[in-house]
């Protein structure tokens, strides 16, 4: 698997994990959507930082 395929697979997994956490909260309210987006961005940033540290 090349790097970009790995990255997009990893991002999809992070998003799925977050969606599971939000499964009973998700009802389309802008605040819930805003919270979801903020958490996803943080998760992706942390994941990038961890990869950077490993390299």
């Amino acid at each position: 698997m090349d790097v970009s395929a790995y990255q997009s697979n990893h991002q999809a997994k992070l998003k799925q994990a977050l969606e599971r956490r939000f499964q009973l909260a998700w009802h389309g309210h802008p605040a819930v959507r805003g919270l979801f987006s903020a958490c996803l961005r943080i998760a992706l940033e942390h994941s990038r930082e961890r990869r950077h540290d490993t390299l």
Binding site: R21, L24, A25, H29, R33, L35, F36, A38, I42
Partner: protein, 279 residues
């Protein structure tokens, strides 16, 4: 079984240390002196040491500049010191109790994170007395700790059902017991003679619509709870983000585009404040 009877079933349920009430008594006197207040706190070295660590933590941003209790009181303020003693005392009181179903460390991490998030929301929305929100968030789930201690088997079963996605833990509690950890927490804090505002927030932090009677403080803690659950900062048992009460969101007064700031600020302060509590 009523919430009071349930609280009575917890073996060796801790009470608040006398130092909290002594500090409270000193602060009731309009002519109290800093010297007098500091002496009362210094009689409890463990609490005094933790107070200094917290005063120098990201909670206040004085990093390393506060080296005496008297200076801490001057810089932070006496009411705030009373809240810090309360938070430290409650954490110490429950620290050594085995809860089984959840990790005590994770429980307090969730509570500390919720306190930080509530305070950050208060700051972002320009709330008066924003420091008070920290203690509201810190103690919001204390009733769940009592439930785990009083009914370990039953709560273990509810946790399994919750983790199998059968519903929110708070709803499963209500179905099984007829009340929730909110009522238990409120009853416990009332029994400890803690301020009514704090009791009210703890007793209504899930809000549950207009009829709940929850005020703005409870609404702030409600959204703080959602935020730290969404970010998986510790856990008081639940693994899912609670359902947002839309009326509570309107009372909070936060803008949607401020949510990323709230998340980033809370995350930035979190590890430092947790270390101050546990080291």
């Amino acid at each position: 079984m009523t919430p009071s009877e349930l609280i009575g079933r917890v073996p060796d349920l801790p009470s608040l240390p006398e130092v909290y009430f002594q500090v409270d008594r000193v602060l009731q006197d309009p002519d109290f002196s800093l010297q007098e207040l500091s002496e009362v706190i210094e009689r409890e070295p463990a609490i005094a040491a933790r107070l200094l660590r917290l005063a120098n933590s990201a909670l206040y941003g004085f990093s390393g500049h506060i080296d005496t209790i008297q200076r801490a009181v001057t810089m932070i303020g006496s009411d705030e010191i009373r809240d810090l003693i309360l938070s430290s005392a409650v954490l110490s009181a429950f620290k050594r109790m085995p809860v089984g179903a959840v990790s005590m460390r994770s429980f307090w991490e969730h509570s500390i994170a919720c306190g930080l998030a509530a305070r950050n929301i208060a700051a972002l929305t320009g709330a008066a007395n924003m420091q008070r929100y920290y203690i509201y968030g810190l103690l919001h789930d204390i009733g769940r700790l009592v439930l785990f201690l009083a009914l370990p088997q039953r709560m273990g079963d509810l946790l399994i059902r919750h983790r199998n996605s059968e519903g929110h833990l708070v709803d499963l509690e209500h179905d099984a017991l007829g009340f929730t950890h909110e009522t238990v927490g409120g009853t416990l804090l009332e029994g400890w003679r803690l301020p009514r505002a704090l009791v009210g927030v703890v007793a209504r932090h899930h809000c549950n619509g207009e009829e709940s009677g929850a005020g703005r403080e409870a609404a702030v803690v409600h959204f703080a709870d959602l935020t730290v659950n969404a970010m998986s900062m510790g856990s008081s048992g639940t693994r899912l983000v609670p359902e947002l009460d839309e009326r509570a969101w309107e009372r909070v007064g936060l803008e949607v585009d401020e949510i990323p700031i709230l998340c980033a600020d809370t995350l930035e302060q979190f590890e430092n404040v947790v270390a101050a509590f546990f080291d």
